[in-house]
Amino acid sequence: MIVDDILKIISTALELKEGALSIDSNMDDFESWDSLGHLSILVALDKDIDGNISGISELATADSVSKIVEILKQYDFL
């Protein structure tokens, strides 16, 4: 899995237009990335990543794309 895959997963979860999300994006940038939107991201990551993210509690408070990517790298999903 590569970073672009994560961008696609998050973008789809938040129902964003293609290209709207980048590695520099964070929660404040999109109306749909509120607390409910973040739950959608967590579900999408759990579904689409070949592995179990439920043990990665840090993802619950990761409020930017770069933080999510960094955490997934730490756990060898990227």
Binding site: K47, N52, S57, A60, T61
Partner: protein, 326 residues
């Protein structure tokens, strides 16, 4: 355990609140997006002057009406996180109001979402040990009293309700394969911080009304991992497979949690029971209410094997198998 759940009754808050009320109070809320996660279209709220103890007494009275002789009840276990007072225990008030024996065992059990299963284990152990014969297990909460009208995480979800179950001795092992779990590292993710001793002892303490704070994302991650594991632990303990379970009756946390449980277990929808749509999340009462309704709807009958799992505030979780005996 050679105990059985002989009867279940329940009582809900007097006020019916639908999502139009949420919208009126909070015009900027996207109600459709909220319902897509919660699955809750109506909640039940306690009215002015109506406490969890009142709801429990109502549920208890309904159950006692079915008995020829209420003096058979020699124990009360009352599960609540919404007591009438810090002291005395609410179970004492309930004993008096229901006219139960004074030579009876009575205790409050401070647990939330996991409370019914803990209560079952407690009541069942008291009976199996020979200390008691018939326990009235009551659950009740009025979480709505702790929730701000503008709290988008909690207000759409929680309902006020109570249940009463009669737990009795049985010739066969009807309740079995309990699992329990406790992880206090999650304590701050669902908490009412003000009003009790940790707050009162604080030298900078200023009175603020008790208010529920829930970190939805942290709670969700906890359920995503722990609930399937808990079900796995029950199955491993019993030596059974999911195919041999007639119905899974989980704590009715929310649509989001149950949808993901179905996905992770790889089960068909008819294998799981849901009733949060017009009941909301009644905390420790969700499971007994669900069991009662599943029976009324014919989803379970005498002899059915139910797997029940409860999880939430604490973090605390528990589960067991229940063979329906009545």
């Amino acid at each position: 355990m050679k105990v059985a759940i002989k009867s279940i009754t329940f009582s809900l808050g007097s006020i019916v609140e639908d999502n139009n009320v949420l919208k009126e109070d909070n015009p900027d809320w996207d109600i459709d997006a909220i319902v897509a996660k919660t699955g809750v279209e109506k909640r039940r709220l306690s009215s002015d002057g109506e406490t969890a103890v009142d709801l429990a007494i109502r549920a208890g009275a309904k159950l006692l009406e079915k008995l020829d002789d209420i003096s058979v009840i020699d124990g009360i276990v009352f599960v609540t996180q919404s007591p009438d007072y810090f002291l005395p225990s609410s179970c004492c008030i309930i004993q008096e109001k229901l006219g139960l024996r004074t030579d009876s065992y009575a205790v409050d059990l401070n647990q939330g979402c996991s409370g019914y299963i803990y209560g079952l284990a407690h009541a069942g152990s008291l009976i199996e040990s020979g200390l008691l014969n018939n326990v009235l297990l009551l659950t009740a909460d009025t979480y709505s009293r702790y929730i701000s009208k503008t709290d988008r995480t909690s207000r759409p979800l929680f309902s006020d309700g109570a249940s009463a179950s009669l737990i009795t001795r049985s010739d066969e092992s009807s309740i079995s394969d309990f699992i329990f779990g406790t992880d206090g590292s999650g304590a701050n993710n669902l908490i009412v911080e003000s009003g009790a001793m940790r707050d009162i002892c604080n030298p900078t303490h200023n009175y603020t009304p008790p208010e529920l704070k829930m970190n939805g994302a942290n709670i969700f991650m906890f359920t995503l991992g722990q609930v399937p594991k808990g079900i796995g632990a029950i199955l491993a303990k019993s030596g059974l497979s999911l195919d041999q379970i007639d119905l899974i009756v989980p704590h009715q946390a929310s649509k989001l949690v149950l949808d993901n449980l179905v996905r992770k277990l790889g089960i068909k929808e008819e294998k799981i029971y849901r009733n949060y749509k017009d009941k909301g999340n009644t905390v420790s009462s969700t499971i007994p209410i669900a069991l009662s309704q599943a029976r009324d709807e014919g989803r379970i009958k005498e002899g059915s094997l139910v797997l029940s799992i409860a999880f939430g505030v604490g973090y605390s979780w528990a589960g067991c198998l229940i063979k329906v005996s009545h």
